[in-house]
């Protein structure tokens, strides 16, 4: 019996430490500042263990019975602790209160375990041996747990299931103890039934762990996540709330299906309708196929070449039914040719000419993306314009990022192009800006494709008027060796959020 007993010590020590590590890790994940979280949680937990140990002096009889109950309670509370904390973060305001309360309760229970166990076995061994053996296995268990946790548990099981696994171990120890201490337990049968019930509960919990975390994450994101994937290039998330589908790339909103028509009609038609005979169109970026959908409204267009970096993105918008409904299967159209490539090197190495070029990249949030907004890039892109050709550039918000917007306009000018800046209101984005750029004079079109919901011939001239709060700023151009745009963009958004 000896070795079995000491294995119990090892296991329960491991369980105790795992609950503590889980609370610390979860708090660090969700709240940040891991130093603060781990310090306060370890402190609380050790303090609670002290309380538990102190409390044992008031326990006089029924030691084995109480030990089994403590293990059972730890199995339940510890086992569900992680799931409970996830849900608490998603659904309640008092996450920290709940977390520290939970840590305290677990700490007290863990504090009770070892002193009680030592008293149970003290009759069998010399005091010297009890202390030595119990503490040896206690610390050994702690070592095992602290190694298992980062190496195996977190990567392979995740936090919710790790907690439940160790809850199962606690209950296992409880069940096993009913046999180990059978002599001291007259009512062992009832205890065993309780153990089996808790084991079932935890087993179901483990099987359903994914649902628990999904439910919690859904609540964090506000809308239901219908797709999430880390590709080689970016993190793609699609959310849905009723009929509103939203696309986020690296947490930046790309469109909302409720108002994207405003953005994409404004991106395409003021320019494309002004090209006398548009045959060949180039889209740089725009892997959602929504700009292409607008371009396909022109029967004269013979071919649309779309260059987007991420094959997962274009595949998603070619195959996902909800998304092909949005882009009207534009990527399946025989006029459309998809090329998955880095835009700048592609523009450098290709020599085709186009009647209309759409430049629709993510905002210049870093220097890598900023390269796609430089004089060098616009010069390279403009080499692909045919004699009648026009280029349109998505150029952030002239309202929220006014310096950035006018910096892009200046950059296009320095690249030797005539510029025609305009803006529209897209509810989910706010005021949004575009620039038409060309080697020749641009005149707004006199007619547009039928069936547009936002852009109209009468409304067009107003798009090119900028009220005083969005009027031109004096900005230097963005160049590869001096990316003023990335710094301006960063500053613009800092100013908004303060």
């Amino acid at each position: 019996m000896g070795i079995l007993l000491f294995i119990s010590v090892l296991l329960i020590a491991a369980c105790g430490l795992i609950y503590e590590l889980i609370a610390g890790t979860l708090a660090s994940y969700l709240l940040g500042d891991s130093v603060l979280q781990f310090s306060t949680i370890i402190g609380c937990y050790l303090f609670a263990m002290g309380i538990g140990s102190a409390l044992t002096r008031y326990i006089h009889r029924g030691l084995a019975y109480r030990f089994v109950w403590i293990e059972l309670m730890l199995g339940v509370i510890g086992g569900f602790s992680s799931a409970l904390l996830f849900l608490a973060f998603a659904y309640s305001q008092g996450f920290q209160l709940i977390m520290y309360a939970l840590v305290m309760v677990i700490g007290v229970l863990v504090g009770l375990e070892i002193p009680i166990l030592m008293r149970i076995v003290k009759e069998r061994y010399a005091f010297r041996d009890v202390v030595a053996h119990v503490l040896t296995f206690d610390y050994l268990g702690a070592l095992g747990a602290s190694l298992l946790f980062p190496i195996l548990l977190v990567p392979y099981l995740g936090l919710v299931r790790s907690a439940m696994l160790f809850g199962l171990i606690n209950v296992g120890v409880a069940l096993w103890s009913t046999f180990l201490f059978a002599k001291q337990l007259p009512a062992a049968r009832g205890l065993r039934i309780a153990c089996v019930l808790v084991i079932c509960g935890l087993a179901v919990g483990m099987a359903q762990a994914k649902r628990i975390t999904t439910a919690a994450e859904d609540n964090i994101y506000a809308d239901e996540i219908i797709f999430a994937r880390d590709t080689r290039y970016q993190h793609i998330v699609l959310t849905r709330f009723k009929d509103d589908i939203r696309l986020f790339l690296n947490s930046h909103l790309q469109f909302s299906s409720r108002d994207e028509y405003r953005y994409h009609e404004a991106l395409i038609h003021p320019g494309l309708s002004a090209v006398p005979t548009p045959r060949r169109v180039l889209v740089l970026g725009g892997g959602d196929g929504l700009a292409v959908r607008e371009i396909l409204k022109y029967p004269q267009v013979e071919s649309v070449t779309l260059v987007d970096l991420d094959p997962e993105m274009t595949r998603l918008f070619t195959t996902h039914p909800m998304l092909t409904a949005l882009n009207q299967k534009s990527f399946q159209n025989s006029r459309v040719h998809i090329i998955n490539a880095d835009a700048f090197p592609w523009v450098d190495s290709n020599s085709d000419s186009f009647d209309f070029i759409v430049v629709d990249f993510p905002d210049p949030t870093n220097y890598s993306l900023g390269k796609l907004y430089t004089t060098a890039f616009y010069k390279a892109a403009a080499r692909h314009l045919s004699a009648q050709g026009l280029m349109v550039v998505q150029s952030t918000s002239p309202m929220f990022a006014r310096d950035s917007y006018w910096c892009i306009v200046e950059t296009l000018k320095q690249a030797g192009l005539k510029t025609y800046p305009y803006h529209v209101y897209v509810p989910s984005f706010g005021e949004w800006g575009f620039v038409i750029a060309s080697g020749h004079e641009y005149l707004p079109p006199a007619s547009l494709p039928a069936g547009l919901r936002f852009v109209s011939v009468d409304g067009l001239p107003t798009l090119f008027q900028f009220p005083p709060d969005m009027s031109p700023m004096n900005m230097p151009p963005n160049r590869l060796n001096d990316q003023v745009l990335v710094r301006a963009y960063d500053q613009d958004w800092k100013d908004i959020s303060h």
Partner: protein, 504 residues
């Protein structure tokens, strides 16, 4: 219950062994293109073949680095074709040699040229010819992309290499005062590139003391400031501030005030310029042609390489000047010419370190490291997404005597330097060993001129720089500064001089 100690230990060690076995990633590589042996053969006057052939040329250029190639460029540009360039290595370029692998081209040493000021007329002329300077504007793609450089200090990266965070009020004051001094020196117009155009005897005193002494004499003793000054001297001269002439330390700062944010750089560093020069003069070049003797006579010279005697009216000696006494009969040694040993390494990264991010500068320096940090060879790509790259790692062995460091460089094997480099990088990229698949290294025994005290106003230097007689010296070490602009200037001047004399 008793767990036997032996069993416990057995089980325990099995667990520990299991945990410590990590996918040990092997890193390959070697020293490349060492010219130590050839050099030592020259020094020790080893035996060389007897003459079997004789070629006659008006001009023979010895050395195919920037100075030699620039001389060739100049001669060729004047429509003068009666010359030959002899290079010891198989590859041209000297300190501007480059390499190429499946990921990118990369430099072996010199990797940039600061945007040249108005006085560097030959550099501007060359760059205009190469399309780097067009209608008064610098080609955007050749200017170093943003962000340019960063420094790791106090556990974080800051923008720029001059320390800007964690400075005390006193530190700031000293940086400010140094800036004021530099400003005054710049205003004198005496610190120019090429250096010869500004040099005046009023600066003699500055060459008599070390840069470190000069700083201390003016009450500038801030540790951070001295770190930065030492970094600059190591970077440009391979020497500490205490071993650098104050004139040279000041020249580093006072000679440049570019009108454009630079510098000019290419994936293969200044190898890009070498390639362009070679396109123009390749037919005059002989590689693997080690010169082992030069004989001066009254009306001509003989240059011996392999079994060939090249008879010339003028020899442009563009190889490091200290070699000349070993090759030339009756020429005394040149103690004023001292050189710093360097190690450079190119690291192939199959993936980028986890903490790499998207906005990585070109030049990355770690404060208080004995090395000079690394430069990303793919920085000048227009791609927005990069997964693999090559870093060029620079290490000037500056501390201590150059001769001792040269010995160290030769004695220690590749594995020693590999570990030293990885240890240095691990401070800032803990997972570097998981990223690197190959480290190739080049050892330069005499990489660059070391402008020690007195080197600039040295009689010896000034005498050889005068371009007198038939042996015309053209290496950048005649400026005391191993920089591209000086090498090109001396090469061009030597060519002009030869043409002028031949026309007489």
């Amino acid at each position: 219950m008793k767990v036997s100690r032996r069993k416990f230990l057995q089980a325990g060690s099995a667990v520990l062994v299991g945990l410590s076995v990590k996918g040990a990633r092997s890193i390959s590589g070697s020293f490349v293109n060492d010219s130590f042996q050839l050099g030592h053969q020259l020094r020790d006057r080893g035996s060389f073949p007897t003459v079997r052939r004789t070629e006659r040329h008006a001009v023979v250029i010895v050395g195919g680095g920037i100075a030699g190639l620039s001389a060739a460029w100049r001669l060729n540009k004047h429509g003068f074709h009666d010359f030959v360039l002899l290079e010891m290595n198989e590859q041209l370029g000297g300190n501007s040699r480059w390499g190429q692998n499946e990921i990118t081209a990369y430099p072996w040493a010199a990797h940039y040229v600061p945007v040249p000021g108005p006085k560097a007329t030959y550099v501007r002329e060359l760059f205009a010819e190469l399309g780097v300077l067009k209608n008064g504007e610098w080609e955007e793609r050749y200017l170093c992309f943003a962000p340019q450089e960063r420094l790791y200090l106090y556990g974080r990266w800051q923008d720029g290499i001059e320390p800007a965070v964690g400075l005390s009020a006193d530190d700031r004051d000293q940086f400010k005062r140094l800036e004021d001094f530099i400003h005054q020196f710049r205003a004198t117009g005496g610190f120019t590139i090429p250096m010869e155009r500004g040099l005046s005897s009023s600066q003699t005193d500055l060459d008599r003391i070390s840069f470190e002494e000069w700083l201390r004499q003016r009450g500038m003793s801030s540790r951070v400031l001295h770190w930065y000054m030492n970094y600059c001297c190591r970077d440009d001269y391979g020497a500490l501030a205490a071993d650098t002439s104050a004139w040279a330390g000041i020249h580093y700062f006072a000679s440049r005030e570019p009108e454009e944010k630079g510098p000019l750089t290419w994936p293969e560093g200044n190898g890009w310029i070498v390639k362009r020069l070679l396109e123009r003069v390749e037919s005059f070049v002989r590689t693997g042609a080690t010169v082992h003797r030069i004989e001066q006579r009254k009306n001509d010279l003989s240059v011996y390489s392999g079994d060939t005697e090249y008879r010339a009216q003028f020899v442009i000696f563009a190889a490091p000047t200290f070699l000349a006494p070993y090759l030339t009969e009756g020429m005394a040694p040149l103690p004023d010419f001292e050189y710093s040993p360097w190690l450079t390494a190119n690291l192939t990264l199959d993936r980028l370190p986890a903490n790499y991010g998207t906005d990585i500068p070109w030049d990355n320096v770690v404060m208080n490291s004995p090395t000079l940090g690394y430069v990303d060879a793919r920085h000048q790509t227009v791609q927005s997404h990069v997964e693999r790259t090559v870093w060029t790692f620079y290490w000037a062995l500056a501390e201590g005597a150059p001769a001792e460091n040269r010995k160290l460089l030769l004695e220690k094997d590749w594995g020693y330097w590999k570990e030293a480099i990885l240890h240095d990088l691990e401070r800032v990229h803990p997972d570097i060993r998981q990223c690197v698949s190959r480290i190739d290294m080049m050892r330069f025994g005499h990489a660059m001129a070391r402008p020690k005290r007195g080197a600039i106003f040295s009689e010896e230097r000034r005498r050889l720089a005068k371009l007198e007689g038939r042996l015309l010296f053209a290496n950048s070490d005649l400026s005391g500064l191993s920089i591209f602009e000086e090498a090109q200037y001396r090469g061009v001047r030597a060519a002009e001089k030869a043409l002028e004399m031949l026309a007489r």
